[in-house]
């Protein structure tokens, strides 16, 4: 008994395992027992990395042939479980694919899902997970009370990834069974938005803009400052919803979680849903004209001022160096 068999839903981008995958594998390893990775797609390219981070076995569905991962991934996992490999815990990243797969799997297994977690610990034959609420002000710890497989989704950047000492994971085929009506949705075209510079969730410096910029053209100030600091531009949801910048730049509960060494918030109020995505930054600088803005509550350096005055001067000062 106990938690002996853990699966991690593993993802790939551009031929490499995603940071969230490595974080979860590292955590899974520390909980003890055997760890398997489950790739919804072709797992061969990343199997050696997954092994290095702790996956003794790498389940791979093979190419999804246009299917969305939700229905396909859940059905493939269910088939392996029915085949006799019964995990005690399956860990998912709290992102699009993770959410879609764990949701459908929860129905197939008739098991609850605990979402938005940032911590997990073994508790006898069960597990305790911790979830921040109210923008991270309080931490709620919940245990699973029924039988496994326990299903839990974790916010990215909750754990520090570190490789272990094992070799490549053994790749095991886990084909997607016939999906019937649930497999009706098909991807017909893929559009990738071009980005330059470091990735938002990996950059050492993030400069983020919000509604206080006033108009979409002013986002150029955010981009120039990010470039000067070799960082990545980010955004609040307000300006993503307004269509000023693409969703891929959104920081927060529904966007990316960032933990750079410096986070500069320009014209961002500091709503709880924004703060959960950036509160973990080592140093926070905020520029906001409202001295009462909640963002100042977490800022190491707060400038009460107009972004249209402070930012251009800051950019000029840095250009002159």
């Amino acid at each position: 008994m106990g938690i002996d068999n853990i699966w991690v839903f593993a993802q790939e981008t551009n031929g490499a395992a995603t940071p969230a995958t490595l974080e979860l594998l590292t955590k899974a390893r520390s909980l003890g027992g055997t760890v398997s990775a489950f790739v919804v797609g072709d797992g061969n390219a990343i199997a050696s990395t997954l092994g290095e981070y702790g996956a003794a076995k790498v389940y791979s569905t093979g190419d999804l042939a246009g299917n969305l991962p939700g229905a396909a991934g859940a059905a493939a996992m269910k088939a392996v479980i029915d085949g006799g490999d019964r995990p005690d815990l399956i860990m998912f990243p709290q992102n699009y694919e993770g959410r879609d797969i764990v949701s459908r799997l929860s129905v197939k297994l008739d098991r609850t899902v605990l979402t938005n977690n940032t911590q997990v610990e073994v508790d006898g034959d069960s597990l305790k997970v911790t979830t921040p609420v109210f923008g991270g002000e309080q931490l709620v710890t919940t245990t699973f009370t029924g039988e496994g497989p326990f299903l839990a989704a974790f916010r990215p950047k909750s754990f520090e990834p570190a490789p272990g000492d094992a070799g490549a994971g053994e790749v095991v085929s886990a084909p997607v069974p016939d999906l019937g009506a649930t497999g009706g949705a098909k991807v017909t075209a893929v559009h990738v938005e071009e980005t330059t510079g470091p990735k938002l969730d990996e950059a050492a410096v993030v400069v983020a803009g919000g509604r206080g910029l006033g108009q979409s053209e002013s986002f150029e100030m955010v981009e120039s400052l990010a470039k000067l600091l070799k960082g990545a531009p980010g955004a609040s949801r307000a300006i993503v919803d307004a269509g000023w910048v693409p969703y891929s730049m959104q920081v927060g509960q529904t966007g990316k979680v960032v933990k750079p060494s410096v986070y500069i918030a320009a014209g961002i109020s500091g709503a709880t849903q924004h703060m959960v995505g950036m509160k973990g930054s080592k140093n926070i600088i905020a520029i906001n004209k409202d001295a009462e803005a909640p963002i100042f509550g977490v800022a190491d350096l707060g400038i009460v001022g107009d972004v249209h005055k402070v930012m251009p001067k800051l950019i000029e000062a840095l250009q002159g160096r």
């Binding site: 929860s106 129905v107 709620v140 009706g184 017909t188 969703y247 509160k279 140093n283 800022a299």
Partner: protein, 258 residues
């Protein structure tokens, strides 16, 4: 074309949230309002039905104490009718139970071409309910829709991804979850508000729908602790009098970022 929209009624997010000390779940007392996340789905559905030139928009909601305020807002926007599942036995339900209840409510309304939900609710934000509903109903689904069009039995969606977006097609009936900002939700007109008062809202219990509320999965979790997170200390706050940018430069130098 008939569209069903999931409408969650939530405590006003402008008020600070609070946990009930006896159950450690979110307090959901008092007047509830239409979750802004769902106002996009309502608007999207109204536009799709409008474009099709026939059919109607129906609403489903699960909420405590027979709450209808949020539903009335959506009806005032133009939806035709609603099914409300309100049942004291449902208190503390997890997302899976919610999905089972909503799926049963959708079935009660009869055949719809499309079921629309939001990608996540403002108060619960598990983001799992729509996809769980689709699985309960054995339906295909497209999550994270930025735009939705229906043409002759096929729904076409631009689906947001981490890197950009995908074009996805699916035969109806299907479930689609829409992101915030996809459309501009209309304000209910005075006429709409008056009309909404007489639109039918059918109130049912979980038992009426044949769903056992505290099922196996329903009771599968228990909150064991609530703690205050370590607070981040606020630093230096200065008023800009024309030279504040130098303070930032100094701060960045101190960190060796520049």
């Amino acid at each position: 074309m008939n569209v069903i929209v999931c409408v969650k009624q939530i405590p006003d997010p402008a008020q600070p949230g609070e946990l009930d000390p006896s159950t450690n779940t979110l307090k959901r007392e008092g007047k509830l309002i239409l979750d802004e996340s769902d106002s996009y789905g309502v608007e999207m559905a109204l536009q799709l039905v409008d474009k099709a030139g026939e059919g109607e928009v129906s609403l489903i909601s699960m909420a405590p104490n027979g709450e209808v305020s949020g539903l009335r807002t959506a009806l005032a926007m133009g939806a035709a009718k609603a099914v409300l599942v309100s049942d004291p036995d449902l208190a503390g339900s997890d997302a899976l139970t919610t999905a089972k209840v909503l799926a049963a409510a959708a079935k009660k309304l009869g055949d719809a071409d499309l079921i629309i939900a939001a990608t996540e609710s403002s108060d619960g934000y598990t983001g799992t309910v729509p996809e769980q509903m689709a699985e309960v109903l054995g339906m295909p689904s497209i999550t994270f829709a930025k735009s939705v069009a229906v043409e002759g039995g096929t729904v076409k969606v631009a689906r947001q991804t981490e890197a950009g977006y995908d074009e996805v097609e699916c035969p109806t009936p299907a479930l689609v979850s829409v992101t915030a900002g996809v459309v501009e939700p209309r304000y209910p007109s005075f006429k709409g508000i008056m009309a909404a008062k007489s639109k039918p809202v059918e109130e049912v219990t979980a038992a009426d729908l044949g769903v056992t509320p505290v099922g196996w999965a329903g009771a599968d979790q228990q909150i064991v602790d609530v703690a205050q997170a370590p607070a981040r200390e606020a630093g230096e706050i200065i008023e800009d009098e024309g030279e504040a940018h130098l303070k930032i430069v100094e701060f960045l130098e101190g960190l060796k970022v520049i």
